[in-house]
Symmetry: C2
Subunit: 251 residues, 2 copies
DNA sequence: AAGTGGTCTAGACCACCGT
DNA sequence: CGGTGGTCTAGACCACTTG
């Protein structure tokens, strides 16, 4: 990552100018992707990275700044910079936006119902970038807030990464699924996109959620991505919104 | 904003350390709030601000960086730094997350139905930080995508800022309401929080939206804030989600 | 006290936009 | 061309954590 040589070679290869700190960022993302640094670990100090890349500390800082803004890293003054982890309580509710109406912090527990391999439907296939009919790992589970069932999730996972998943291995109960995926399967979710609609409860889902068929439910379809914007999960969630709501902040 | 004096005085007044760039940021936000710089205008160059505040350019940059990240300012290389405006097409859909299922860019048009003064209900009052029964400006309007009605909004505005609002003044049609508020009433919305739920259509709303009563609709309750996190609008929107959905990206 | 991230400086140079 | 924001440097010092 010598300054002059890398920049001039980049100029030749790609006329689109890419600043040094961004090249360093990309390099560090590749390190995360390759598993050189693990979630929860501290990465080398800014000074050491600067020496390693042969740039000034300010340039490394800017690369880390962007990665921290994208929730890939977490800075802690006086301690170091750490790889973000779903184990960290701070990022526990980053992907679950359902909150009780009274504003209290829910005690969320996951109840897996089934886990099997099956053929992907059109929606799941399109979201995961595979062909309809290709195999996916399919999980059904309930989520309970303080004992009350509030979410029914139908989860589709790409087979190549989650081949060994079983119902027993999902019974972690308390910790989030993404925590489990990160620790047991080495797959870290870094981004997700959701599509929301209001739908009428079908009989099967209504039974699981303890409501009458036809009752309005919030349908949340989520595609979750790991490093390199690779989609690895598509889920269809039905949320009860009678005593809780989906919270969203518009920056 | 002399470096040494301001910092030492801050230390005495407030033991909680506040870095220089953040003091500058707060100062600039107050300038925006006071209307010294208007939406769409260019603010002084980094060099000029650095001289004015008697700090280095890098310190001003960091203040501007944060404000740009919060959508208060927009940087344009080679041209300058500008006060963000809802007139800018780039920030046109920042607060409207409903998009057609086919991913196309909708042509959104607003149809105001009524505009009057009335007493705030409990929900509106709580959101706006006033007492139930206090007067608010109340607007009902429809939003159409390519001619089809997709949203029914019930909008509550704080009286002090929107006193002169009439149905005629709302018939801008094409441009967004926030654009109109910014230009005609000097109120710029900088942040909003939404609560989403699925509900069954009441007869009145169903009629306006052209659906059967009881059909599931997406209820979006939004509180919008201007500078200083002052709530100035609370709206209750009912969204048809049969051919469009609410899109949300989880960072 | 040592090590980390956080702030601030002064200056050089580059990329982009307008005239 | 001059003016703007964007990048990069080298070094000083501050704030926070840990031992």
């Amino acid at each position: 990552m010598n300054r002059d040589s890398s920049r001039s070679s980049f100029r030749i290869a790609a006329p689109t100018f890419s600043p040094l700190y961004r090249q360093i960022k990309e390099f560090m993302i590749r390190s995360l992707e390759a598993g050189e640094w693990h979630p929860g670990d501290a990465i080398p100090s800014e000074g050491e990275l600067a020496a390693r890349f042969n740039v000034s500390q300010g340039t490394v800082r800017k690369a880390i700044d962007e990665m921290a803004a994208e929730n890939l890293l977490v800075r802690r003054q006086g301690k170091g910079t750490f790889v973000a982890s779903h184990d960290d309580p701070r990022s526990f509710f980053r992907f679950l936006r359902l909150v009780p109406d009274d504003g209290s912090h829910p005690h969320a527990v996951s109840f897996p119902l089934s886990c099997a391999t099956r053929e992907a439907g059109e929606d799941a296939a399109a979201a995961l970038g595979i062909a309809a009919g290709d195999l996916v790992v399919y999980v059904e589970r309930l989520l309970r807030f303080n004992g009350e069932t509030v979410v029914f999730d139908q989860i589709h996972l790409v087979t190549e990464l989650f081949a060994g998943l079983t119902l027993e291995s999902l019974s972690g109960g308390d910790r989030s699924l993404y925590s489990l995926f990160e620790n047991d399967y080495g797959v870290r979710m870094i981004h997700a996109a959701e599509h929301l609609r209001a739908v009428a409860a079908d009989p099967y889902s209504a039974g699981l959620l303890g409501v009458q068929p036809g009752v309005p439910l919030l349908l949340v379809e989520r595609t979750a991505y790991t490093y390199g914007n690779k989609p690895v999960e598509w889920r269809r969630g039905l949320y009860r919104t009678d005593r809780q709501h989906y919270r969203n902040d518009l920056g």
